[in-house]
Amino acid sequence: MSYSITEPSARQKWIAGTLVILYAVITMIPLLWIMMTSFKTPPDSISYPPKVFYEPSLEGYVNLFTTRTRVSPEKLASLPPPENFAEEIVRNRDMVIAGPSKFGGRFLNSVIIGFGSTFLSIFLGTLAAYAFSRFKIPLADDLLFFILSTRMMPPIAVAIPIFLMYRKLGLSDTHLGMILLYTAVNISLAVWLLKGFIDEIPREYEEAALIDGYTRFQAFYKVVLPQAATGIASTAIFCLIFAWNEYAFAVLLTSGTAQTAPPFIPTIIGVGGLDWPAIAAGATLFLLPVMIFTVMLRKHLLRGITFGAVRK
């Protein structure tokens, strides 16, 4: 490596590295604790001092996916031997499995609403971004600012009329209603980011295609779309993460059929208080996909996070 006066010295790097790693380790403690708690038994989870070493158990996950009822010791003894490990864990607490819990359905709702709204945001957003990037649209700057400014409204402020509107249209607590709502919130981010990506594709490509006899539509989906694929993919991840994490609208506008996981997870209650291992299990299953996406997409993170305001 060539010597440069702006290159930090080895000692500087060592100190900087140590401090950053120290911060990273501290920042990870709460997340690690969630995962660790999900493999504890309820008594282990609330012991003092907090247990770092313990015998792992799947009780949290079993409790997350089932509802259970307490039975008398005589009845418990009269039952046939447990069929699987879940049954065995539950029986050890003098209970039997009564049925599945609501968690699976809530998680599925998160998936449906997340992917549905992401697809719609990207579909509409790409079209709008292409038009803003390539055509002269009257008042384009004002329209773009208007699209961005919708992001400044506190969700609760919009929630009041949307609550009334959805009640009238029969959209409250439906998948469609939530998909439309999240799309409306996400589309500002999508248009801004995608416009930035499409701006970077040279116009000459399409012009060549147009001269070759392509129509605008053909030029759009045969030339521009493939070029913008990476940008579209990273925008999609951001829309998905927003819809996945959203809480305020979900808690106000859904209560059953279309309720997503974030309002549901904190309400998991065990026998005699909150069931922390089950909550931690739900949190782990819910947070892990996002963590994996983040690690996979780290190179494309910055632009999405900063609303496209910071370019590479």
Partner: protein, 315 residues
């Protein structure tokens, strides 16, 4: 009419052929492409906003639809400006806003500066630091209430371990003095990486030759830091503060899960107060007026701030 090469060529060809080449006119395509987005925003953002403005002049209650709705002029607005609860919630918001921004700017900039020393593996550690901000604030906030439990909570245990205090002697969420700081800690933990990432982009945008020139001129490292690094990162840092400021002014999910506005109402910030008025007390007209006031406040502050930001950029 746009003047791209393709359009010029198209204009020279006979009309019938031109239409075949271009399909729909560009203008038609433009509106076809932008239309649905604008429609969706009008239906789900602008129409509700106008409706909120309308409701804010009434005494409407959403849980009693059949009651006659009366227009009461600006009475709601007058009442809000004289309501001490609202002012307390604005104070709580200001406290939260100030201290979260303070710590996040400080820590975020320091981290970015350290990461920019380009030590080995800085990419991997940056990714790890970024993780908290990608996660659901509601789910994570809920779990923090567990960490904050007196006696059994990990946070209390660690603090007690280092200070020698009794871990059950303080309640982060239950005490009037500590609860505002409990939410500041979690928000800082979650969003420092955001400020860090933007600062990092700023630091990386400074070309090496500026430092090289300063080195040739024998400017001290400290001087370089204050005359090159800080001014060049400032626009980025201000942008980060703008984004975080808007988000934290609207703060809802994290704080609802952590304290629910309590104890009493010391952490009842604007959004939480609004939710209580609108969906628990069902004072729809009154809360609509409050929503409008909040929106105008954010919008106004943000516009002034953006003007300042542009001035800094121009320098």
């Amino acid at each position: 009419m746009s003047d791209t090469t393709a359009d010029k060529l198209a204009n020279k060809t006979p009309k019938r052929v031109a239409r075949k080449i271009r399909g729909l006119s560009d203008r038609a395509i433009a509106w076809l492409f932008v239309g649905p987005t604008i429609f969706l925003l009008l239906a789900i953002n602008i129409f509700p906003l106008l409706w909120t403005i309308n409701l804010s002049f009434t005494d409407f209650k959403a849980n009693r639809i059949n009651r006659e709705v009366k227009y009461i002029g600006i009475r709601n607005y007058e009442r809000i400006l004289g309501d001490s609860d609202i002012w307390l919630s604005m104070q709580a918001t200001a406290h939260f806003l100030f201290w979260t921004l303070f710590f996040q700017v400080l820590l975020g900039f320091a981290l970015a500066w350290l990461i920019n020393r380009k030590f080995r593996g800085n990419d991997m550690w940056t990714t790890i630091i970024v993780l908290p901000m990608m996660l659901s604030p509601a789910v994570v906030g809920n779990f923090w209430t567990f960490l904050y439990q007196p006696q059994i909570g990990l946070f209390n245990y660690i603090v007690a371990f280092f200070t020698g205090a009794d871990p059950s002697s303080f309640e982060m969420l239950g005490s009037v003095d500590l609860a505002p700081w409990a939410i500041v800690i979690v928000d800082t933990w979650m969003w420092t990486p955001f400020v860090m990432l933007i600062c990092l982009a700023g630091l990386r945008s400074i070309p090496d030759y500026i430092y090289e020139a300063a080195e040739v001129d024998r400017a001290s490292k400290l001087r370089q830091f204050f005359t090159i690094t800080i001014p060049m990162v400032l626009p980025f840092l201000m942008l980060a503060v703008l984004f975080r400021g808007i988000e934290n002014f609207k703060m809802f999910d994290l704080v609802v899960q952590l304290t629910g506005g309590g104890p009493g109402s010391v952490t009842e910030m604007a959004s939480i107060n609004l939710k209580r008025e609108a969906f628990e007390k069902w004072r729809t007209g009154y809360s609509s007026a409050f929503a409008i006031i909040l929106f105008v406040t954010v919008f106004g502050l943000a516009s002034i701030y953006v003007k300042a930001l542009n001035k800094v950029k121009e320098r």
